[in-house]
């Protein structure tokens, strides 16, 4: 009888750290192709249409779809970084969605009400951008502080609390744009009034790609510096890898939970500001677009590495934009995108074993237990 045994690799070769995730993503595409086939859709046509929708006209002189991929990647980048910071400490922040929404609400509050409330504040993009950004970071961080405090003081499961706070934030936000902040001149359509133009984040040429993308890239560098160069980053990593050793070394779990969640919530909040000030210019349906959940896939597929998060968020954004495309041209539901992404997460998750273990195949007599 042939037996498979797992042997822990003492010193995994370096190439495995990228080869395994890349192979996993490729296999995931094959597997989702089979899944599509099972439901009567031609996988090759589907993927071709998705590719076309996501990058297709990049060589055709027009940049529309490729730029939309970057637009979609922007919030994923920020929320991906947000959850990666928390996951590094094995603090399971599943609440980036709610933190993003709270950031979006706070930035909108500034854009909608500050010009009237404080006319003496210079109405320029730099000043307003800073205030909106600050408000969004603060709102996201405070929303994230709730599970952090509950975990630190009472040991309440952060997974459940962050999740429940998502639902609450989303409901509150739809309350705002359908009632309290609804534009009376909006002809009855739900949505706030349009923000004044000086609060709009500048866009690149005639695309919807805006400054928020740069904020995402800067944040990626910031998170890299945090983990690679600072003491706080070192403590967070230590707490994630070996909590016992970290406690023994005098690292404060309490302080680091709060720190991690403030950073995490702040980054997610910024993503919300990017969406309202860079894209919609008002509060309306669609701010919460599952970015917080997709962020989990982004962070995990990228192995929590900031540089890889930038790349993976573009990859997953392409899957989304491609998904919209196949809905329009092939009549397939756009949720195909979500399925492909979920399958990808599974393969990366399962593939991990190949970087940690060596598989030994041996012939053994039946009945002998290793």
């Amino acid at each position: 009888m042939i037996r498979f045994r797992l042997e822990r690799r003492i010193d995994p070769p370096r190439y495995l750290s990228w080869a395994v995730p890349v192979a996993s993503v490729v296999l995931a595409l094959v597997a989702s192709g089979l899944l599509l086939l099972a439901f009567g859709a031609n996988p090759i046509d589907t993927f071709a249409a998705m590719w076309d929708g996501a990058f297709g006209d990049i060589f055709g002189g027009e940049v529309y779809s490729a730029s939309e991929t970057l637009v979609r990647a922007t919030p994923l980048m920020l929320t991906g970084l947000a959850v990666a910071v928390a996951f590094k400490m094995k603090f399971w922040n599943i609440g980036a969605e709610g933190q993003l929404v709270m950031g979006g609400i706070a930035a909108s509050a500034v854009a909608l009400f500050l010009p009237d409330a404080a006319p003496w504040v210079p109405q320029t993009l730099v000043v307003y951008g800073l205030i909106m950004g600050g408000a969004a970071i603060l709102a996201g961080a405070l929303w994230a502080l709730i599970p952090a405090l509950l975990k630190a003081y009472l040991n309440v499961s952060e997974i459940i609390v962050t999740l429940m706070l998502n639902y609450i934030a989303i409901l509150w936000y739809s309350q705002l744009f359908t009632t309290s902040w609804k534009d009376p001149e909006g002809l009855g359509f739900p949505g706030s009034a349009l923000f004044p133009e000086f609060t709009w984040l500048p866009r690149f040429s005639n695309t919807r790609v805006n400054v928020a993308l740069l904020i995402g890239l800067v944040a990626a560098v910031g998170v890299w510096v945090l983990f690679a160069k600072t003491r706080a980053g070192y403590e967070i990593r230590l707490l994630g890898d070996n909590p016992e050793a970290a406690r023994f070394a005098g690292v404060s779990v309490f302080r680091n939970i709060l720190l991690v969640m403030l950073i995490s919530g702040g980054l997610a909040g910024l993503a919300g500001m990017g969406e309202v000030a860079g894209i919609s210019h008002k509060l309306q349906q669609g701010l919460s677009a599952n970015n917080g959940f997709t962020a989990i896939i982004v962070a995990w597929v990228a192995k929590l590495q900031p540089g890889a998060i930038v790349l993976v968020s573009i990859l997953l954004a392409a899957v989304f934009v491609g998904g919209d495309q196949i809905q329009m041209t092939m009549g397939l539901p756009a949720s195909v995108a979500q399925v492909v992404q979920g399958v990808m997460l599974f393969f990366v998750l399962g593939g991990d074993i190949f970087s940690q273990y060596r598989i030994r195949v041996s012939r053994e007599r039946v009945g002998v237990v290793a």
């Binding site: 009567g40 009472l154 609450i168 896939i297 949720s335 979920g342 599974f346 399962g350």
Partner: protein, 318 residues
């Protein structure tokens, strides 16, 4: 409050709490074996969509229920393979199940109707209330407990059965031990990994059944986001119930009750907006967890299986 009102709220509480009860008890069984499964939401919603689709096309409620349980078990098998055999992180794998489940469910909802069309808006078979003569004329509780559907009645039998299994049989005793000290159980000659596979799949099947009760009885039909986070509430209820079946039912009743009160308020034309009312179950989940956690902040005192979430391998025994 009049007795009629109490009776009506209790009735809706039981009705609304049924899906939660099955999912919660299923998750409690899985967790007792040492596997944390955060894919409940994904399994429930997949159970809801496949259950409805199967019942719609075959006209048989039984086939719908079986399909829902089967798909739940299948997703659980995936979770078991990834976490038990491949030793991947249980939390992330569970999240992945939920992500795949919700994505696949909305994909299937658009494809599984007649001629590859949508299921949304279709009317299919549904569980009808079967009034039990005699019992249903009991004061206050009669209407509420005994004018319900079959899935609800099965729950009344299911809860004591699970209790009996866990506390009064030897496989049940092994199940309890498995989550505490898998190495000890293994030393007794019991294949822990195989049982973890089985209990994870049982949990998945029950989550699927919970989903089927939603699409075949509670809100008959299919619509996107049908479960609305109930799978997550079930995960929270396991902690509230300290992994015990009867307390799981009590917790589900409590949540069903919140649901009922919310319905009542909306129906009576309250001025509180629907959005704010809909927040109630989520706020309550947090409050319940805070209360349970602060009452005894030690997880062990609550009865959490000590080996919960810890991958087990024979070679790396510690």
């Amino acid at each position: 409050m009049s007795l009629d009102l109490i009776s009506s709220i209790l009735g809706i509480a039981v009705f609304a709490g049924t899906s939660l009860t099955y999912a919660t008890i299923g998750e409690a069984i899985t967790e007792r074996s040492g596997i944390l499964n955060l894919g409940v939401e994904g399994m429930m919603i997949m159970g809801a969509v496949t259950g409805f689709a199967a019942a719609f096309h075959t006209g048989s409620l039984m086939i719908g229920v079986l399909a829902a349980m089967g798909i739940g078990a299948l997703l659980a098998l995936l979770h078991a393979f990834v976490t038990i055999t491949l030793r991947a992180d249980q939390i992330v794998s569970g999240l992945a199940i939920t992500l795949v489940g919700t994505g696949l469910a909305s994909f299937l909802g658009e494809r599984l109707g007649p001629d590859h069309g949508a299921l949304v808006g279709l009317q299919g078979p549904r569980f009808r209330d079967a009034v039990i003569p005699g019992l249903s004329s009991l004061p206050v509780v009669g209407e509420a407990l005994f004018a319900q559907d079959l899935v609800v009645y099965s729950m009344y039998l299911f809860i004591p059965l699970v209790w009996f299994y866990i506390y009064r049989t030897s496989p049940g005793q092994q199940l309890r031990a498995m989550g505490e000290s898998p190495a000890t159980v293994e030393a007794m000659g019991i294949p822990v990994l195989r049982y973890r596979y089985i209990y994870t799949m049982v949990g998945g099947a029950l989550a699927g059944l919970g989903g089927a009760h939603l699409s075949l009885a509670y809100t008959p039909g299919w619509s996107e986001n049908l479960t609305g986070g109930r799978g997550w509430i079930a995960v929270a209820l396991v902690i509230f119930a300290s992994w015990r079946p009867a307390r799981a039912f009590a917790g589900a009743l409590l949540f069903g009750g919140v649901n009922a009160v919310q319905f009542r308020l909306q129906a009576s034309g309250t001025t509180i907006s629907a959005n704010l009312l809909n927040m109630a179950p989520y706020i309550m989940t947090i409050l319940v967890l805070v209360l349970v956690s602060s009452a005894s902040s030690l997880r062990s005192r609550l009865g959490a299986p000590a080996a919960l979430g810890v991958p087990y391998s024979r070679e790396e025994r510690t």
